[in-house]
């Protein structure tokens, strides 16, 4: 048995990593729905979910149970094979793209094996993600078509058209970054931004590529079908768009796919334009104290969670919340005691902070902006976003040529 383990170590490590990341992503997905409802509720002067568990923290679990237990009717006259294939495709493809995201610069070393914080370290990283994005249109289009109903068909048609249109801008807007990095590899793109680490925040691709970053962000929102580009599921005109005829867990699969796509896009923006795992503070000895930021955030937050938990009368509030708080304080203290662990956590800490920030921006936009009209969406994508991102490529290439000939 042990010889089998050592012979297939790489395979087993990868499988464990896949299981772990799948678990994390699905949990984050569930709590992203909680986060979204809570933030939008507070923006609209409501409380949001607060019945199930303290602060409604158990609401995602209740929702999950509801999705599993609800009746799952198949409408008459659907194209069975495609009807079942569509949610599977949407979910599988959006989960696959997470595999290519690197979550930190260093590797863990356990029992002599090097474990990268990434499932698949491939040298065409960004292209592979685009390949997966290109296929993910089918989930939506086929769901709309196979439902044998008018609203889903219209929703599916709209969203295919929207995704094809915005995919172009999405691709063109990163070409500037690729030109600067000279590689498709996500690690190389971050390494290129680390060349001006002493400038901190100002060394990131965001500044030279500000046009590209804006185009990418807008196109990414449209590509993930979020507000203000959520026309495929415009309630007032199309009921629920392409997933009108889907219930129960099949609906949940579309939902998980959408939220996973949001996470992937947030990772991509963080890596390509915001320096990935680089700290926003300059990498000079003067700023070394910022390395204690994870502890400084974790310990007070843990204390607050304990204080908040003991005020509840329920078992979950009294026991679980203080437990989580104690764990946070313990981790924060451990990071201060073990500098090596603290150094290791810096990269993932900053990357996750940036991802969280962008997830917040997604929710913020949803609480703020009204929906576009369909013709506005199309003319915006084709007549503004695409030309601007192409201009960005030309300008970047021209400036790079000037700088290179100047040397």
């Amino acid at each position: 048995m042990s010889s089998f383990l050592t012979a297939n170590a790489a395979l087993i490590i990868t499988l464990v990593k896949i299981a772990l990341i799948l678990f994390i992503v699905l949990t984050v997905n569930a709590y992203l729905t909680w986060f979204e409802r809570k933030v939008v509720a507070h923006m609209q002067s409501r409380w949001g979910p607060h019945r199930v568990g303290p602060h409604g923290l158990l609401q995602p679990l209740a929702d999950g149970a509801k999705f599993l237990l609800k009746e799952d009717p198949t409408p008459a006259g659907v194209d069975k094979f495609t009807y079942f294939l569509a949610p599977l495709m949407a979910l599988a493809l959006s989960l696959t793209s997470i595999a290519i995201i690197p979550f930190g610069p260093q590797s863990l070393h356990i029992f002599g094996y090097e474990i990268k914080l990434q499932i698949a370290d491939i040298n065409i990283g960004i292209l592979a993600i685009y390949a997966i994005t290109a296929l993910s249109v089918y989930g939506v289009a086929l769901a709309g078509w196979s439902s044998n109903s008018k609203y889903p068909l219209l929703g599916g048609l709209r969203s295919s058209a929207q995704m094809i249109s915005y995919e172009l801008a999405l691709t063109m807007s990163v070409v500037g970054v690729l030109l600067m990095a000279g590689s498709f590899d996500l690690r190389a793109i971050v390494a290129q931004q680390a060349r001006h680490a002493q400038w901190g925040f100002f060394g990131w691709n965001l500044w030279p590529q500000i046009l590209g970053a804006c185009c990418f962000f807008i196109a990414a929102i449209a590509e993930t079908n979020r507000v203000p580009f959520d026309l495929p599921e415009a309630e007032s005109e199309l009921v629920a768009g392409f997933h009108t005829e889907y219930a129960s867990f099949k609906f949940a699969m579309f939902f998980i796919a959408e939220y996973t796509a949001m996470i992937t896009v947030a990772c991509l923006i963080a890596i390509m334009f915001l320096g990935g795992w680089l700290s926003p503070f300059p990498a000079t000895p003067f700023w070394n104290f910022t390395h204690y930021l994870p502890s400084v955030i974790l310990i007070p937050f843990g204390l607050w969670v304990i204080w908040d938990g003991i005020r509840y009368e329920t078992i979950f509030g009294r026991l679980v919340l203080p437990g989580i708080g104690t764990a946070m304080i313990a981790i924060g203290a451990a990071l201060i005691v073990f500098p090596a662990a603290n150094e290791f956590i810096q990269g993932p800490f900053w990357l996750l902070s940036k991802i969280l920030f962008f997830l917040f921006v997604y929710v913020w936009l949803r609480g703020t902006l009204p929906r576009f009209r369909y013709d506005q969406l199309m003319s915006f994508g084709w007549k503004l976003l695409l030309p601007v991102s192409i201009a960005n490529v030309v300008i970047t290439a021209f400036i790079m040529l000037l700088l290179r000939s100047g040397k």
Partner: protein
């Protein structure tokens, strides 16, 4: 050994997808089979170490072109295809032709000098850098001419689409 198994699985997937493309009566099912063929081909390229070509195969063929097919089929709401006498004739004439084509291909493969050279050729095309170097040095004229062809096609499509409006 593993590489051979992967090759045969992917090759079988591609061939079965292509057969299913013809057998299926509904255009959407045929289009889906074609997507399976495209993705299987991309996976074959990947197994040969040509990452870039594999990704482009999926983005261009699996993504753009097939999405357009599916989109048009959905937009026209095309139903199950009808079989007429002409399609029966196509079946009778098609089988000998398919056998002949298979024979030619088998003969060409049998005469080709082994796999090592083919493998070395793909290695030269493996990474993005060497592909772009070849595109913009040796093959720059065909490359630019192809771009012009695509541009002309786009303008043609625009002219056709605008014709109804005065």
């Amino acid at each position: 050994m593993t590489a051979l198994v992967i090759f045969f699985v992917l090759a079988a997937l591609a061939v079965l997808g292509a057969l299913n493309l013809i057998v299926q009566r509904h255009p959407i099912h045929s289009a889906l089979s074609l997507i399976v063929v495209m993705v299987a081909l991309a996976a074959l390229y990947l197994s040969m170490g040509a990452d870039f070509v594999a990704a482009v195969q999926i983005i261009v063929y699996g993504g753009a072109i097939m999405v357009l097919f599916v989109f048009v089929i959905m937009l026209l709401n095309a139903g199950v295809e009808e079989r007429t006498n002409a399609s029966k004739l196509a079946g009778i004439a098609g089988i000998p032709l398919a056998v002949a084509l298979l024979g030619f291909l088998a003969a060409a493969i049998a005469r080709s000098p082994g796999s090592p050279e083919a493998a070395s050729q793909t290695r030269a095309l493996a990474d993005t850098h060497s592909i772009s170097m070849m595109l913009f040095s040796n093959f720059v004229y065909p490359f630019e001419l192809t771009s012009f062809l695509i541009l002309i096609a786009i303008i043609g499509a625009l002219v056709l689409a605008q014709r109804e409006r005065p």
